[in-house]
């Protein structure tokens, strides 16, 4: 409460920042971070965790790296403060060129820490670098390329500033080259705005009141005192936006704010908009809510028993619901019982995968604003601008054409920003009520409450194999702990069964998967949606089988490997699959044959493999419209604009679009401008989820570019009066194949084409959904145009006295079809692998007996730091997929899966214990060692 006159008095702060003196008027309670960002406009200093746990806000004070979020601005007077904006750009260029940044959100802070290190230590060792960056979390990269970038600067390497950094793949003009992202350097120097970096005139700040109970009925809400507080402009409750919604259109089961019941600790109850966040906070404290507390459902057994009041008392069609079963799927393929009867060895067991959260370093943020014509613009850190646009239209009851979604730069997402959230709907409504723009920025705790993370999953798995190591049958019974709402729930439930049928062939397969509602933060899609958990169980079971049968675990997988052109038992056709190549690659790189089984007690190697989709044929909103659209237009300056609604969440989809268009048109990538941030300006792409963007937008971009190329060829052939077949394309210029001395710049070709057409040169392309998959109910789910595959080998050390597991090295080989941008593909492999490592060893998202989140901060969530994340060796395998653009498939999610079972299997190799529950905490490992009498 800002009540005493003493405390509200503003201070005049004299700050010296980047060598400039500033006099700033600010409250005494403001941190240096707040003053830098919100008073001085130095938006390169980021905010990620509220309280000193992430390092995104790192600046230098008198040369030392400090956390500006824990530095009271008043105490920074008299110091030389350095922010990213004032730093020379050597490190920024190195980070960009090396692929050491993906979403870019943590980079400015990381670069400041690296800078402080290099000022002290000119040639730091790897250990010195990882120690110096140990206070800066990066969720995207896995740190491998960050260390490399710092080493490049330490070596004073001359880093080219061009977008293309190396030779292309054979036969191409840019594809396959080491290249930078078009948005990379702007992020690295703190120039490109993320949502919270945007301040609109007269903008208010919103906050959401959240339930202290896991399960309760709302009896009454009194907003009167909150509304009476000076500085409060609007307050809303669930009844103001009662329309239920869900990202899956036929399962609407949540509302912007709770209308009747709260279903987890943190469920939104009311929202206010006020002149600043402090006042909005004070207003929340004045809202009176009466609850009738109900017994919470906090685990799968309670959920299945359904003894008390169900989490949802009505289903999405309004019919009474008596249990907590959200979705059940059961399918059987082939002769399962016969398969088990024929098996020489059977492994059977129960595995449990603990839930975990995405934890992008950028917290969710949204700004709503309505213009004088009554149109809504919503800025949001979302992966799915189109679905958000639809949800805003439906819930706010505004026609779709009057809703515009702008997606600024996104500081990581990983599936955690792939559906509409309460802050977006509340910012829109509060803004309408207040008649002014309203921003809502989640606290870090709210990010974890919004969650939609990986489902806790229990798997009762049975796998049989013949004596020669051929799998004969697999059976899996799964229970998914879904949390309070549906989210993508039915997709998760299907995926948990349907996506397990490759890359090792299952000749007979039966599964039942059931998702239950519980009074916990809602689970949803996290990188590797639905399949990371059963993959963990299956790949561990395969390791046990290989032990039982005395077959090398890599060989066992080889004997069961699917190959290009195969079809899975559940009817998924696999155009290309490089499992054998991936296995061979990690086998060689890790020295598997020479070292496996020969390491001392406490050291071990483990292998695992996986397969993942490149989008699904069956979109969330069933439609005959294309899943992805790309519009190209050229202008007289010689640039080509690529408009596409795909959300670049750091993975580099803008770079992918730029590269594909540049390749087809032979145009310098620097002359290609990607416009992907605004639903008013770009054709629909369904969003960055299910690893669909490279394949689907890539194909759409390729088609659009081929159309423009043809118009350009015709125009140039006409101008030169030669046959079209004589026109050669790029790179950089177009030429006469029979007279190579005759050439012309791409800008001139564009000009000729515009003259020839008599109108601006435009071209469109789309990715049309083809029908794929088995001919049975659910057969289309998980049916993808193309499948990636990965193999991992992990090397670990296990301390048998404490149970502490250290991962010493990870090798990952990933078949992405074709690497359009190899640096970015490696970055996805490394980042996925590092995220998998975190889930294997450290991370969890759990609640206690009251439903209270046990990890509500980035301190407790325990994301891997640069110190314990080992070097990751990413190796690209190319199978040139017949469907994907230039043969490309996904790389962003697949390489996570097999990290975890590879580590579990390595632990077994090291100390002989099987850990069937994540995370592989030292407590668990030590208990297992004791149980087996190994320590």
């Amino acid at each position: 409460m800002t009540t005493s006159p003493e405390s509200t008095a503003l201070l005049v702060l004299n700050l010296r920042v980047n060598g400039e003196d500033h006099a700033v008027l600010a409250p005494p309670t403001w941190t240096l971070l707040e003053v830098l960002r919100y008073k001085l406009g130095l938006i390169g200093t980021k905010q990620g965790c509220d309280k000193g746990d992430c390092g995104a806000c790192t600046v230098t004070m008198d040369g030392q790296p400090v956390l500006s979020c824990l530095t009271l601005a008043a105490t920074a007077q008299g110091a030389e403060i350095g922010t990213i904006e004032g730093l020379d750009r050597r490190l920024a260029h190195a980070f960009d060129a090396t692929g050491a940044m993906q979403c870019g959100f943590c980079q400015p802070g990381m670069i400041l820490s690296a800078h402080a290190l290099l000022e002290k230590t000119a040639s730091p060792s790897r250990e010195e670098i990882t120690a110096a960056l140990g206070g800066n979390l990066c969720r995207c990269t896995g740190y491998t390329k960050i260390v490399e970038a710092v080493q490049r600067v330490a070596r004073s390497e001359d880093i080219s500033k061009g977008l293309v950094q190396g030779p292309p793949a054979e036969g191409f003009s840019i594809l396959g080259a080491r290249a930078r992202k078009p948005d990379g350097i702007g992020k690295a120097v703190g120039e490109l705005p993320y949502t919270d970096d945007i301040a609109l005139p007269r903008m208010l700040h919103g906050r959401i009141l959240r339930s202290p109970y896991a399960h309760a009925r709302i009896l009454s809400i009194d907003l009167s005192q909150a509304l009476a507080l000076p500085g409060v402009y609007a307050a809303v409750v669930g009844a103001d936006l009662p329309k239920a919604y869900c990202v899956i259109p036929w399962t609407p089961d949540e509302t912007a704010l709770c209308t009747d019941k709260v279903r987890y600790v943190g469920d939104g109850v009311a929202a206010v908009a006020a002149v600043d966040e402090e006042t909005a906070d004070a207003a929340l404290a004045l809202i009176k809510v009466e609850y009738e507390v109900l017994a919470p459902v906090l685990d799968l057994d309670t959920a299945e028993k359904a003894a008390g009041v169900p989490v949802h008392e009505r289903d999405w069609k309004g019919r009474p619901r008596l249990d907590n079963l959200c979705k059940e799927v059961a399918l059987s393929f082939g002769e399962v019982d016969e398969g088990f009867a024929a098996a020489a060895a059977v492994v059977e067991g129960e595995w449990f995968y603990e839930g975990s959260s995405h934890a992008p370093i950028e917290p969710h943020c949204a700004i709503g604003t309505w213009d004088a014509l009554g149109r809504l613009t919503l800025y949001s850190s979302t992966q799915v601008p189109h679905y958000l646009q639809r949800a805003l239209s439906e819930v706010l009851e505004v026609p779709l054409d009057r809703v515009r979604v702008v997606r600024p730069a996104i500081g990581g997402a990983f599936g955690g920003k792939s559906e509409p959230f309460d802050l977006e709907l509340c910012a829109a409504l509060l803004s309408k009520r207040a008649g002014r723009p309203v921003k809502i920025l989640y606290t870090r705790e709210e990010v974890f409450l919004a969650h939609r993370g990986r489902h806790p999953m229990e798997m009762k798995l049975r796998v049989g194999a013949s004596a020669d190591g051929k799998i004969t049958a697999v059976e899996n019974d799964l229970r998914l702990d879904g949390g309070a709402y549906h989210s993508f729930g039915m997709v998760t439930t299907w995926y948990s069964g349907q996506l397990l049928t490759g890359p090792v062939h299952l000749p007979a397969y039966r599964f039942r998967s059931r998702r239950f509602y519980t009074n916990k933060p809602c689970c949803g899609p996290k990188r590797g949606h639905g399949t990371v958990q059963p993959r963990f169980a299956l790949e561990c079971a395969l390791d046990e089988l290989s032990e039982k049968l005395g077959i090398d675990p890599i060989d066992l997988r080889r004997r069961n490997a699917l190959v290009s052109g195969d079809e899975t038992i559940n009817g998924q056709s696999i155009p290309s699959l490089g499992l054998l190549q991936c296995l061979e690659r990690v086998e060689t790189l890790s020295g598997w044959k020479e070292r496996r089984g020969k390491l001392p007690f406490g050291k071990g190697l483990g292998v695992a493999c996986s397969m993942y989709i490149s989008g699904t044929a069956y979109p969330i909103h069933p439609t005959e419209l294309p899943q992805s659209g790309v519009m190209l237009s050229a202008d007289r300056s010689g640039i080509v604009r690529v408009a596409c609604g795909a959300a670049d969440i750091g993975q580099g989809s803008d770079a992918m679009l730029m590269t594909v268009v540049s390749e087809v048109l032979g145009i310098d990538p620097d002359a290609v401008r990607v416009e992907s941030q605004d639903t008013d300006r770009a054709p629909v792409d369904l969003g960055s989820y299910s690893s669909r963007v490279t394949l689907m937008c890539g194909i759409a971009a390729q088609e659009a570019a081929m159309g423009m190329r043809q118009a350009m060829i015709s125009a140039l052939a006409g101008a030169w009066q030669v046959d079209e077949a004589r026109i050669g394309v790029g790179p950089g210029s177009w030429f006469d194949l029979q007279d190579p001395g005759r050439h012309v710049g791409v800008a001139e070709v564009l000009r000729l084409a515009e003259i020839a057409a008599g109108r601006p040169l435009v071209s469109a392309g789309g990715f049309r959904t083809r029908k794929l998959g088995g001919k049975y109910q659910g057969g289309t789910i998980g049916a993808s145009p193309a499948y990636s595959t990965t193999a991992h080998v992990a090397e670990v050390s296990v301390d048998p006295e404490t149970g502490i597991v250290t991962v010493d090295k990870l090798w990952a080989a990933h078949d992405c079809g074709r690497a359009l941008l190899p640096t970015l593909v490696e970055g996805q492999i490394e980042g996925s692998t590092a995220m998998g490592l975190g889930e294997a060893l450290f991370e969890a998202h759990t609640v206690d007996s009251r439903g209270l989140l046990a990890q509500p901060s980035l301190l407790e969530a325990c994301l891997g730091t640069s110190v314990e994340t080992p070097p990751i060796v990413a190796s690209i395998v190319e199978t040139i997929d017949p469907v994907g653009p230039f043969g490309a498939k996904e790389a962003g999610e697949g390489p996570l899966h097999s990290t975890i079972p590879a580590i579990a299997n390595a632990i077994h190799d090291a100390v002989g214990v099987r850990i069937r529950r994540t995370p592989f905490s030292p407590e668990r490992v030590l208990a297992a060692l004791k149980e087996q009498g190994r320590c």
């Binding site: 409460m1 800002t2 009540t3 005493s4 003493e6 405390s7 008095a9 201070l11 409250p27 005494p28 309670t29 403001w30 905010q47 509220d50 309280k51 000193g52 746990d53 390092g55 030392q64 790296p65 400090v66 956390l67 979020c69 824990l70 530095t71 009271l72 008043a74 105490t75 402080a116 120690a131 110096a132 140990g134 206070g135 800066n136 959240r210 202290p212 600790v265 943190g266 966040e277 402090e278 917290p363 920025l441 606290t443 705790e445 404490t802 149970g803 450290f842 009251r850 209270l852 509500p856 301190l859 407790e860 325990c862 891997g864 730091t865 640069s866 110190v867 030292p922 407590e923 030590l926």
Partner: protein, 324 residues
Amino acid sequence: MLRMSGFSFAQARDPQHAVELFAGSDQAAWLAGGTDLLPAIKLKVQQPKLLIGLGQALPRTFEEQGGELVLGAGLRLSDLARRGPEPLAEAAASIAGPQIRAMGTLGGNVMLDTRCRFYNQSAHWREALGGCLKASGDICHVTGAPKSCVASQCADTIPALLVLGARLRLLSVEGPRELSLAEFLRYDGLRPHAVRPGELLTHVILPQRGGVGASAKLRPRGSIDFPLISMSAWARLEGPEARIEELRVAIGATNPQPKVLPGIEAYIGQPLDEERIQAIAEAAWMRTRPQGSLAGDVAWRRQVTRVFVARLLRRLRSQHQEIA
């Protein structure tokens, strides 16, 4: 973002000015590095009305006086990590991450508030919990009892300072006083320091005795984290047998009051060999009963204490042998 509110700020010129400012105010708090206080204010577990900025006002001395090493409370943890005596340097180097070590001070670390998974949480989280003994509640959720708070003392420098026999110099408007760190620490999660209102820690004094020292820390990750167990050992060993002349082991982060392990005097004059090491580790295990105020299974933390004590003592022995 969590925002702070409700306090004003005053910058102290020197320690005397600081204690005068404090004496003249209601609900003031010292602000040194801010790395412990600001999160507490953001989470609203502390709601001071005045922050007294110590900044340059705290001494950063690092000097020998009469056979003692006098450390200014304003020394940065990164300074201590670089040039502090062992085992203090190693303990300081293990604190949090580089930024927090560059900000945090020796005084601030000694005065670190106790921590608990039920306490270091947001206002909303604690409201859902119903409060706890340490913050607007009447029960300790760790023990289930209404009596004492068992939040853990997680200051990594404290075990090191204990084994080095540190004394603290405090200043108030009534003047300076000195007491030993061991006397200063209390088994009380609510008031873990025997500090009087308005007293400011200005110096930490270490008797200079040579010897060998080492620290160890159990934490989930290689950086950032607070300890789940924090420990230091210091010894003077003699001769090729590593005969124990003096030996102290202190263990922290198990409860509100880190302590020197009692009973080790019995080994004076004996060689620090594997048998004694195991015996001392066993004694540490017997004596250590970590509270569940921090994450991590308590039985496992206890087991690791035993393992870590043994490893720490082996390191002392090999350090001694290297010197010899």
